[in-house]
Amino acid sequence: MDGAAQTLGGRGGLRSSQRTTAALRHLALRGAAVVYLGLLVALPVVAVVTKGFGDGFVTFREAMATPAAWAAIRLTLWTSTVAAALNAVMGTLLAWVLVRYRFPGRRLLSTVVDLPLAIPTLVTGVMILALYGPNSLFGRFLDDLGVRVLFTPIAIVIALCTVTLPLVVRNVQPVLQELDKAEEEAAATLGAGPRTTFRRVVFPAIRSAVVAGTLLTFSRCLGEIGSVILVAGNIPKKTLTAPVFIFQLTSQFKPAEAAAVATLLFAISFVLVLATTRLIARNEASA
């Protein structure tokens, strides 16, 4: 009895010292994470917002008063919306094809989907220039049809779609993979045709993933500069997007104006990120 009690006491002591080390370790880990996030994200955000609102709303209002600023933000918003909508539909379709069909070249296609993430966006811009430029067959063909792509918003949308292609696909694909085909078969035996089955059974199951992927695409589009700067032509009030505008402002030594436009972009992105994380959390909760 005595021996047992001693062993128990000894083990208890060991455990409490282990607990202290564990607590310290957790504290250190959490501290490191917070500091890292602070340095990389929080501080720059504070800096840009203070700069943008340096003298209260005055700097901000003045910066936004230049017609080019609002035009740039409007252009960025609508091209991003179009690109996100296009990739929402096409990305879901691609994911469906990749998950549901077995065909030669499927793996190659799967790799191609990831390519835009792997290559620098500037390179994507160069590729678009090469394809739609006046020296290429395709570019000349479109020219003959009277369609101008380069240095128009169409080029911006193409660049944005290319760069963000994988986002919806890779969000939707795993959810589709987990979808039980028997659910669709059950719907069929209950009298539902393919369209009703998609609308009532398949889509509700992947909806959150599609929306999350689309929001991610949209916020990624808001900030895209590498590919856009090469293909847009950057004509103020016509094809000058907000990120390119910010880039120009900083190179013209107008940090306050740059910060003001950046703050607005940041605010939009921030709301989107919040919405996305909310959606993903809800998705996981219901799964």
Partner: protein, 357 residues
């Protein structure tokens, strides 16, 4: 309400693999027909062809006087219950059950009344607003059944409906399905690999093996008069004793087992004897054997015996008929109701008990 199903010469090829070969049977109106066989025997494929989820390569399916083969899944109006429930996970229990009515544009009031009626039938009214993820396996399968029954299908097709459930729930659900079927009388086809399930639930059993029908009959016929060695070995437990046909008996060494008069003299034959047909003889028995092990299974004991030729034999003996038999004893046993067949080609003939009774 009830309709019979006639399946005629049904064949299904997947590429070069023939999953189902020339399957013919009739599922009588208002009865449960079990398609029984090991996995890969093609039974699920037959069921899926009846539902229209799979297109037959050849053959036809007739429901009542309606040719089903040319109809789409949606038009066939069958109820289908899947092994893994296949409930719509983002819909509540009530919406799941009402799905078939909703798709068929049934009136909302009618739909709601029918959903209530079915949830009552499967004893799940309090769960109407839950989601499938919040239910147990047994409850989910009951929802699946209610969903399949809601549009009043002419036939109910069940694909291993208890396969994903644990033993206890399975037993309960099986009994419950039996009662439900008595109440509704809807023609049902049940796919299962569990012979006990088939024997208990079905009015008729179709035993399948490697894509073909081995035997069609009542549970009693299948159990007592198997027509192929496969059926004898698969349905119910059986000892297999391999020997040679001499004078209408299967001979293994000094042992003579009767019942081989229909086989050619000198042929290699297998005699199937159920464990409960191996009786400890009070006087002179047919066969002498040494008791290797006695294991109690409750009210009966599993007695492992070794025959003089080295073959093993398993007997299920009620405890009050054991007469104090113990390990190492030399005893004599009677082999009742042996069934002799030409030896199956496979060398993997079951020497072991296929399943404890």
């Amino acid at each position: 309400m009830s309709t019979r199903i006639v399946v005629e010469g049904l064949t299904k090829r997947f590429g070069s693999f023939e999953a189902v070969t020339d399957v013919t049977f009739t599922a009588p109106a208002g009865a449960i027909t079990a398609l029984l066989g090991p996995s890969g025997s093609g039974k699920s494929t037959v069921l899926r062809m009846i539902a229209g989820l799979e297109e037959p390569t050849a053959g036809r399916i007739v429901m009542g006087d309606e040719e089903l083969t040319v109809k789409s899944v949606q038009e066939r109006r069958v109820g289908f219950v899947f092994q893994h429930y296949a409930l719509f996970r983002h819909m509540t229990v009530a919406d799941n059950v009402g799905f078939g009515l909703r798709v068929r544009k049934e009136d909302k009031a009618v739909r709601e009344a029918r959903v209530r009626e079915l949830l009552e039938l499967v004893h799940l009214e309090p769960f109407a607003d839950r989601y499938p993820a919040q239910l147990s396996g047994g409850q989910r399968q009951r929802v699946a059944l209610a969903r399949a029954l809601a549009p009043a299908p002419k036939v109910l097709l069940l694909d291993e409906p208890f396969g994903a459930l644990d033993a206890k729930v399975r037993q309960d659900l099986r009994r419950w399905l039996d009662e439900l079927h008595r109440e509704l009388g809807v023609t049902s086809v049940l796919v299962t690999h569990d012979q006990e399930e088939a024997l208990e639930l079905a009015n008729q059993i179709v035993v399948m093996h490697e894509g073909r029908v081995e035997q069609v009959g009542s549970p009693g016929e299948i159990y007592d008069q198997p027509v192929t060695p496969f059926v004898a070995g698969f349905v119910g437990a059986a000892n297999v004793l391999n020997g040679e046909v001499i004078g209408g008996h299967v001979h293994l060494g000094s042992i003579r087992i009767p019942g081989a008069a229909h086989l050619d003299e000198g042929a290699a034959a297998a005699a199937f004897v159920r464990p409960h047909d191996v009786r400890v003889a009070s006087g002179d028995g047919d066969v002498s054997a040494v008791v290797e092990r006695v294991a109690s299974l409750g009210w009966l004991s599993r007695v492992s015996l070794r025959l003089p030729g080295g073959e093993t034999l398993v007997a299920h003996v009620p405890n009050d008929e054991l007469h104090g038999v113990g390990e190492g004893d030399a005893i004599r046993v009677d082999l009742r109701n042996p069934k002799a067949f030409l030896a199956p080609h496979e060398t993997s003939a079951r020497e072991e008990i296929t399943s404890p009774a």
